[in-house]
Amino acid sequence: MTEPLVEIKNLRTHFFTDEGVVKAVEDVSLTIPRGKTLGLVGESGCGKSVTALSIIRLISPPGKIVSGSIAFYDDGRKIELTTLPEAEMRKMRGSRIAMIFQEPMTSLNPVFTVGSQIAEAVRLHHRVSSREAWDRAVEMLHKVRIPDAQRRASEYPHHFSGGMRQRVMIAMALSCNPKLLIADEPSTALDVTIQAQVLDLLRDLQTEFGMSILIITHDLGVIAEMADDVCVMYASKVVEYAPVVELFTNPLHPYTRGLFASRPEPGKPKDQKLRTIPGVVPSPLRFPSGCKFHPRCAYAQERCKKEEPVLRRPNLSQIPPSHVVHCHFAEQIEEQEEAAVKSV
């Protein structure tokens, strides 16, 4: 296993709203390996973005990191992000940890030219003249394959299309050589062809710059294309965590199984209906007791309603130790399903 860049342990982030405490992230632990990509997948509202914002410490009130630790390994030093003073954290943002967001249309400031927005990030973390910063901005725009970068650097965001703006965002994020790039649904708001281009670009830039990526998505296709490890979240919790090939061959948690089953696949016979996961995501203000997935789970039993499972290695011979799951009955379900497949 490669050494970790970021290690999150038992992170809890809550929003103290007027209607009650929204436990957006509960007891999440994950590791982002150096130079690799971790995919974070789950339905919208399950706490992916909040996890990401917790890493870069941009949770705004009424939200707060309640407990847990986020360790960032920088040149052999361990930096604890949750307790880092705000001034120090600010130096981390942009230079070590950068982030791009889902909405390229609104994520750039409309009143500044794109070049100046990138140059601003450069000047913030490096002692360079504005001339040099501008050159760096143009170079970055060139790197994200924006044609005629020299001229376009002095244009305003509204002159760019959605895909182009996302490229600008990427250029801005990478302008200071960060160790970690957090990409929160970077392609969700884009057209399919543009999506593929942006993802390709991200991958190519990863080989060039060597940064780690935390990619957030609800699209398993994106995961398959980008991720090395996958972390599946459901209702503020990690429910399954495995290397990407392992997860795609052996999904264990009923929720992960549901995700795969609800995916249209060209091989499947057309008359067979897509299986969907019944029910809806529970409101974070009123989570069910026990395992939070039990109201929607086909395999749910009495124990699931009372007792919250822990994230554990399943007792199955073919499963490698790096695969963990958050289910009481992972083994039994696997046996049932195997049997069902054989009997067909």
């Binding site: 941009l58 942009g94 609104t106 400031n109 409309p110 009143v111």
Partner: protein
């Protein structure tokens, strides 16, 4: 841009014609005859002959129906002649010109003060959003905003001029103004202007800082603010550079729209403080039925309003790169 401006100007001229026509019609229907009024004031024995009246009416152009008189007035205006004031027996333009500086002295100073104070206040309140000092400060601003300027002006007069006797109650100059040195003159003027400027300023100050705070609250929730913070920019710079630059857009359009209020807002306050400016002039002209003056002022107010709107548009294009009138 140019084409857009020209189109706006043409519409503006049409609007101007309509307004002046309506007002001209209205004032001609006012009861009370300026000719009669004038003769009555002037004649020592208070005996006026019908002949005299007729003559005077002819002189004022009151013998014609109002639309003909209006066309005549319009023609005069187009040749740059605003006609002659009944009461002052001087060209309207010079009567107004003499007083406009005094009004502007109040209003421009207070406008500058308003902005100088409102911008930091608005930014401060955005930064301290929903803390105790912000809540109480905002409530105070809301109360100032709801305190009518004439009430506020009276309170100020009562306290500072009558009870404390720190400042003169009204007027623009002391009786011994002419004998004072240059420095003394300035000081005297300053003392007289202090209360009116304060009364002018507080309402606008409250309005603008509330306005700025509202737009800033909207702006700081935008995605690009989050982007800026993710770059590692400090909170102060995010607020004053990234957010404020965007909130400036609605703010500058406000500047244009308040241009006419610079003068019309003066009507009440100048009367309270007996400040010999445009407001007082307008007030007296209405009482004395001094048609040419009223029309001159109405024309000026309307032109200012239209110019203000135009200015707002131009400034808008200037501060918002997304806008271009093509």
């Amino acid at each position: 841009m140019l084409q857009y401006l020209v189109r706006r100007m043409l519409w503006g001229l049409l609007t101007l014609l309509l307004i002046t026509f309506v007002i001209y019609g209205l004032i001609r229907f006012m009861p009370g005859d300026p000719a009669l009024l004038k003769l009555y004031q002037e004649s020592s024995d208070k005996k006026i002959t019908a002949e005299q009246i007729e003559q005077q009416r002819k002189m004022y152009g009151l013998d014609q129906p109002f639309y003909i008189a209006y066309v005549k007035w319009l023609g005069d205006v187009l040749t740059g002649n605003l006609q002659t004031s009944f009461a002052y027996k001087a060209p309207v333009s010079s009567v107004i010109g003499e007083r406009i500086g005094r009004t502007l002295m109040l209003t421009i100073n207070s406008l500058i003060l308003e902005y100088l104070l409102a911008i930091p206040l608005g930014l401060y309140f955005t930064a301290r959003s929903s803390r105790l000092d912000e809540r109480s400060g905002s409530m105070l601003l809301f109360m100032l905003y709801s305190l009518p300027s004439f009430c506020g002006a009276l309170f100020l007069q009562l306290w500072f001029a009558v009870y404390l006797e720190w400042l003169p109650l009204h007027g623009m100059q002391s009786d011994n103004y002419e004998q004072l040195s240059t420095l003394g003159k300035t000081w005297d003027l300053f003392k007289h202007a202090l209360l009116p400027v304060a009364a002018f300023t507080y309402g606008g100050l409250a309005y603008y800082s509330r306005f700025l705070k509202a737009t800033m609250n909207e702006t700081v929730r935008q995605d690009y603010i989050r982007t800026a913070r993710a770059k590692g920019i400090g909170p102060l710079k995010v607020l004053c550079w990234h957010a404020f630059r965007n909130s400036l857009i609605p703010l500058v359009t406000q500047i244009g729209l308040t241009l006419p209020a610079l003068l019309s807002g003066a009507i009440i306050l100048e009367r309270i403080f007996s400040w010999p400016g445009i407001g007082t002039l307008f007030f007296q002209s209405i009482l004395e039925r001094d048609y040419p003056i009223i029309m001159g002022l109405v024309l000026m107010f309307s032109i200012l309003t239209l110019l203000g709107q135009l200015l707002a548009d131009v400034l808008y294009a200037f501060v918002d790169p997304r806008v271009s009138y093509k």
